[in-house]
């Protein structure tokens, strides 16, 4: 798990990491990422992608998606779907603070993936997991891997 520095003391992150591993088990799933709404990588299974930059784009997209969603009326944004020639990216809001992103190939059964996402995140929030986001991200300093990334000037 190439997660940023996550302390074992934080409630729920173990469950979240287990969820990411289960989601990543599908052969069509190319990567999964757990990000805070303000754009920090909390945990990731993203091959060849820098989690910090990906988490920022996920948070930005979710925020703009929320504005887009307002065209349809009030209510929080729950899910965003991007279809590219390479496949899908699904953003699924777990809470107001946390979002999971799933990157999948075009061959994925999207309906089943979204059902699994719904069930998994429901189970996660039912156990009050990830309520400690604030404490969690306080320890989220850039890792060596992140600071050495070619395009990341952070």
């Amino acid at each position: 798990m190439s997660a940023p520095e996550v302390t074992a003391a934080v409630d729920g992150i173990g469950d979240a990491e287990a969820m990411l591993r289960r989601l990543a088990r599908r052969p069509e799933v190319r990567g999964v990422l757990l990000a805070s709404a303000d754009g920090r990588a909390l945990a990731s299974e993203l091959a060849d992608r820098e989690p910090a930059a990906a988490a920022a784009v996920v948070a930005s997209t979710l925020a703009l998606g929320a504005r887009l969603g307002e065209l349809g009326g009030d209510g929080a944004v729950r899910e965003l779907l991007v279809r590219s020639e390479a496949g899908y990216v699904v953003l699924h809001a777990i809470s107001d603070d946390v979002v999971v992103a799933v990157v999948a190939t075009a061959a994925v059964n999207l309906a089943r993936l979204r059902l699994e996402l719904r069930d998994e995140t429901k189970a996660l929030t039912a156990t009050k997991a990830l309520t400690a986001t604030k404490a969690l991200t306080a320890t989220n300093t850039p890792t060596t891997q992140q600071t050495q990334h070619r395009r990341n000037p952070c």
């Binding site: 303000d38 784009v57 930005s60 925020a63 703009l64 504005r67």
Partner: protein
């Protein structure tokens, strides 16, 4: 509109916009939560309208996140910009090097063959009219001719003066017939 985290970009756009601001603020986490409660994560949008007789000019304002990790968002926002407002906190010298880096990524590399994009430096939380903070000019190292404007962005007259200065800088750069 670029500048470091907590420099005052969102406050400025909210102070001057004549339309409801389309914001993308969310709760901060970690150490940033100790500085302020919310932060911009997407691109926010507002409009500054200047009426002069029968002529109305609308400046479309786009605010960007200040944290380094949002580089990809700033690259999107920088496409086709006419001018840059670099917002810095005049009381926080520790953020000025980051301000310089943010401007270089947008103002210099904004894809303008004619040179740097017209830029106004807004020195927030600093009294207007007086001397600039010690060391700010050296830290930002802006091109000659860059306009500087100090003030408090939550004060409407001061915020409007800052944005009007940017409008001037942008109009100065336009060809005569377009202006």
């Amino acid at each position: 509109m670029v500048g470091p985290f907590a420099a005052g970009k969102t406050a400025l756009i909210r102070t001057v916009s004549d339309t409801p601001v389309v914001g993308t603020e969310v709760a901060t986490s970690g150490q940033e939560a100790a500085v302020k409660a919310t932060t911009t994560v997407g691109i926010e949008h507002g409009v500054y309208r200047l009426v002069d007789g029968e002529l109305t000019v609308e400046l479309l304002l786009f605010g960007t996140p200040g944290q380094c990790r949002f580089e990809a968002v700033r690259r999107v926002a920088a496409l086709g910009v006419e001018g840059v407002l670099l917002v810095v906190d005049g009381t926080r010298p520790d953020t000025w090097a980051e301000a310089r880096r943010l401007w270089c990524a947008v103002g210099l590399d904004g894809g303008h063959a004619a040179g740097p994009v017209p830029t106004v430096v807004a020195v927030n939380r600093w009294p207007e009219g007086g001397a600039l903070p010690d060391g700010l000019s050296a830290a930002l190292d802006m091109p000659p001719g860059t306009a500087w404007c100090a003030g408090d962005v939550v004060e409407p007259p001061e915020a409007r003066r800052i944005v009007a200065t940017l409008l001037d800088a942008v109009l100065d750069r336009l060809p005569e017939d377009a202006a």
